[in-house]
């Protein structure tokens, strides 16, 4: 039995330690906002925060999470930056199919937490790990800037 801190709550899960956090969130805890896309940390759909820093849950064995605090997209409506980014995402009509967007927003929150006023290049380098197959990139860029400038 492992105890995980997820979105501020201590949760107990009975899972193999080598199970990636992604599947614990999705299939055990029902937090399906974190998505599976590639399983090899190349697409970013599974992005969560680990002590506030973006991490790819698909390659993170749950046994190695330890005491670190896990925050998922489901908690972003309570998160000041998360809220503002979600709003900006809607205002700039970023979303198409929407599958990657929870991961995009998690990466954007982590980026702005680290660098509150990124320029285009910093946005590109900070968000380059998140694929969007609908290619909504230009709007992702503008939505992040909208929040960064606010």
């Amino acid at each position: 039995m492992l105890t995980l801190s997820i979105n501020g709550a201590d949760l107990q899960v009975d899972v193999p330690e080598d199970m990636p956090l992604l599947w614990v969130l999705r299939d055990v805890l029902g937090l399906t906002g974190t998505k599976y896309g590639c399983g090899i940390a190349q697409c970013g759909a599974c992005t969560v925060h680990l002590d506030g820093v973006a991490a790819r849950a698909c390659v993170l064995p749950v046994g190695s999470v330890g005491q670190r605090k896990v925050v998922t997209i489901e908690a972003m409506k309570e998160h000041p930056l998360g809220q503002r980014l979600q709003q900006a995402w809607l205002e700039d009509e970023v979303v198409q199919c929407g599958y990657c967007q929870p991961g995009q927003i998690m990466s954007a929150v982590a980026l702005l937490a680290q660098n509150p006023a990124p320029d285009d290049q910093a946005i590109d380098l900070g968000m380059a790990g998140n694929l969007c197959r609908c290619c909504t990139y230009t709007r992702i860029r503008s939505a992040i800037k909208r929040v960064a400038q606010a």
């Binding site: 899972v15 995402w89 809607l90 009509e93 198409q96 199919c97 929407g98 929870p102 990139y137």
Partner: protein, 733 residues
């Protein structure tokens, strides 16, 4: 998709309307789509509404329903996969019905060919950029009819002439300020006969159409609450994943499952004809179980096929006879003989995978009474048929619950993964969610075909185009997808779309097509479909002709576009906006391309910089689109932006190759996709237009590659005739 995008709405294609009562009280309006061939609405109403659980119970689903609370229920015949179609259709309905978008509740259409066939595609599907085009008029008429009925009901209640009343925001308003909500009128309205003539709103009266509005599906998609197929859970459901024979046509020989059985959470190992599935308590158990299997395949006869063998077939086809002639005008052979000069070129495009971010996923339950699917599909009826066949049941026993789609790009026009999910579910007594790994998704896709096109142009003394011979070789998607739609000579309407009727005026033309069945993989639809190929080929070739004539590529095109003023307009607008003709620093260049397809005119200008070692930077993309009447300008822009970059991703990076019968690309580390760090800004110019709405989901995708290679040629003097660009040694900086 092969659609006759230019066909006008003939009177015989006008929709039928029918009115009835909701089971629980309320009004329902049916709008039929023309190819049903009979008055479905009557049949439906005679049968009466049913419980909505079985396919014949789509009666109620066929309609726009308004209940006694005034809520509007709209069964959308098109699936939402990011293109914004459902919101667009709801906007059209809300416009004529005089309700706010927020009053509409959307419901996915179940499989029913009679009710939901697309009139351009002639089957029930979301694809080919048809959603708005096919439903624009029927939906307006249905909304307007409902509005009229509600007004008539109020008129009856108030004993006033209907023409003194008007509808607004879900209420009917009287001249003296009194009003009744739609909910209060629905029962009376349901008793009224179908209105004979339904006046539609004039464009001046539009309050939603043409205005920017937010899509209905996006709030749930930014906070993680949106549920895609992969997110579903049913009581008792377990999780499955499969390993399918790496070589197409191969069979499962033997499986040693002992180690897989040791993986915590693994429940079942299921043998299928060409695959093995592991079922577990969670997806990870299924994935880890698959890795622990020792599997032996009977690889079959494709095990020695490589890309080179398939490419040889294509070139051989071009060296052979002409194939099926799609269009012939004048005498191109004579013209080539007599021409002041001729120019020949051959272009090539590779196989492509779809790589939607949500991998293939389907929830299936096989019960004694029914087979039930929860799946995001572009083709509900084909999904139903596939599931019925896999389960050995009649189609009417298959219930399809369509879901939000995490990217499709044509992939979910196929049903192979649904067949597999049902085959697995048939072996257990609980619901199963099949989730493919990314590796399975990439290696067991159905791929956009590899094409080779050969051109020969006849030119006059000034290099002007007199005509061309164009021979296309490649796999026929239609021949696999809908063999009955292909004539005996093998002419695939999709493969020759755009190419068959070039927008450029010429006296001599011969366009022909040789279908070349691929070996060791299957071909399918891919965003941009046939025009994706045609636009690359035609717009590359015309650019080469312009350069050979030492003419400006924009002027050279305009000269041949007299019959297409809308094409001229988008071309001029894009060129102007992009600063066409203005000097650029060394190493930079602009390329242009223009097309008319999916009912829309699009021109794109790309500016690139080519540096040392073929370092390629795409600096800027400017597009101008005339897609007729715009429903939501934000959606049009978003589709052109995203669609263009989607096409750019493939043009720069993508190629599926085969060795020893196996697809060599497996995941995003070897099937590279465009990232934000690669993405140039995309500016979209919308041309004001009152023409019929055109499609926008695929136009940008189809046009970017030729504009890009034309820009590279302008910047560096080097012509790339075979995609992707990385194959020619370019790298993105």
């Amino acid at each position: 998709m092969s659609v006759d995008s230019n066909a006008p709405l003939s009177p015989s294609r006008r929709q039928l309307l029918k009115v009835g009562a909701l089971a629980a009280g309320g009004l329902m309006i049916g709008f039929a789509l023309p190819f049903s061939g009979r008055s479905f609405a009557e049949q439906v109403i005679n049968e009466g509404p049913e419980d909505g659980r079985t396919p014949t119970a789509t009666a109620l689903d066929a309609f726009i329903g308004i209940d006694r609370q005034g809520r509007v229920f709209f069964t959308v015949p098109k699936i939402e996969m990011g293109q914004g179609a459902q919101s667009g259709l709801a906007t059209i309905l809300a416009e004529e019905l005089e309700v706010g978008l927020e009053q509409i509740t959307l419901k996915e259409a179940p499989p029913n060919e009679q009710l939901y066939n697309d009139k351009l595609l002639n089957f029930q599907a979301t694809g080919g950029s048809t959603s708005i085009r096919s439903n624009w008029e029927p939906l307006r008429r249905a909304g307007a009819a409902a509005r009229l009925l509600l007004i008539q009901a109020a008129a009856g209640q108030w004993q006033l002439p209907a023409d003194q009343l008007r509808a607004e925001n879900g209420r009917v308003l009287g001249p003296d300020g009194r009003s009744l909500g739609y909910g209060e009128l629905v029962d009376a309205a349901a008793q009224l006969p179908v209105p004979e003539n339904v006046p539609l709103k004039t464009p001046e009266q539009f309050r939603l159409i043409g205005q920017p509005s937010r899509r209905l599906d996006t709030p749930d998609k930014v906070d993680g609450t949106a549920r895609f197929t992969i997110d579903l859970t049913l009581p008792g459901m377990k999780h499955a994943s499969t390993l399918t024979c790496p070589v197409l046509g191969g069979r499962l020989a033997e499986v040693d499952e002992r180690a897989a059985r040791q993986v915590p959470g693994v429940r079942e190992v299921i043998r299928l004809d060409n695959a093995v599935a592991v079922i577990g308590d969670h997806t990870w158990a299924a994935f880890a179980g698959l890795r622990a299997l020792e599997v032996r395949w009977d690889l079959g006869e494709n095990a020695d096929i490589g890309s080179d063998a398939m490419e040889r077939d294509l070139h051989r086809a071009l060296d052979g006879d002409d194939g099926a002639v799609a269009n012939e005008a004048g005498d191109i052979e004579q013209a080539l003989k007599e021409a002041a000069s001729t120019f020949e070129a051959e272009y090539e495009m590779p196989f492509l995978a779809h790589a939607a971010l949500e991998p293939m996923t389907c929830v299936a339950q096989v019960r004694p009474d029914a087979v039930e699917l929860w799946v995001g599909t572009q083709v509900p009826v084909r999904a139903q048929t596939a599931a019925a066949e896999a389960a050995g049941r009649p189609p009417e026993q298959v219930i399809v619950n369509n879901q939000l789609i995490g990217g499709a790009f044509g992939r979910r026009l196929e049903t192979d993964f649904i067949t597999q999910a049902v085959a697995i579910a048939a072996k257990v007594d609980y619901p199963v969610k099949l989730t493919w790994t990314r590796e399975e998704d990439t290696t067991h896709d159905l791929y956009r075909p590899h094409y080779v096109d050969r051109f020969a142009a006849a030119l006059d003394g000034e290099g002007r185009l007199l005509g061309w011979r164009h021979h296309i070789a490649g796999a026929s998607v239609l021949a696999r997808f809908a063999p009955a739609a292909v004539p005996p000579n093998g002419l695939d309407g999709d493969a020759v779309e755009v190419a068959m009727h070039p927008i450029y005026a010429m006296e001599h033309l011969r366009v022909s097509y040789t279908p070349v069945p691929p070996k060791a993989l299957l071909q399918s639809w891919w965003r941009g479909v046939g025009p994706l190929r045609s636009s690359f080929m035609l717009e590359s070739f015309i650019d080469e002709l312009a350069l050979k004539a030492e003419r400006d590529p924009v002027d050279y095109r305009l000269e041949r576009l007299a019959l297409h003023p809308r094409a001229q307009r988008v071309l001029r607008r894009a060129a102007e906006q992009a600063g066409w003709g203005e000097a650029l620093p060394a190493g930079r260049g602009r390329g242009v391309a223009v097309q008319f397809v999916f009912g829309s005119y699009l021109a794109t200008v790309v500016e690139v910089e080519v540096g040392e070692d073929k370092a390629l930077r795409v600096r800027r993309i400017v597009s101008a689109i005339d897609c007729g009447r715009v429903i939501n300008p934000v959606s049009v822009r978003a589709q052109i932006e995203g669609g263009t970059l989607f096409g750019l991703s493939a043009a720069l990076f993508n190629e599926i190759t085969l060795a020893e019968g196996r697809v060599q690309q497996t995941n995003f580390h070897d099937y590279r996709q465009l990232r934000i760090s690669d993405a140039p800004p995309v500016e979209v110019q919308l041309i004001d237009s009152s023409e019929e709405p055109g499609g926008v989901g695929e136009a940008g995708t189809a046009l970017i590659a030729p504009a890009l290679v034309n820009a590279v040629a302008a910047a560096s003097g080097t012509r790339v005739r075979r995609l992707p660009l990385v194959r020619a040694g370019y790298h993105v900086v």
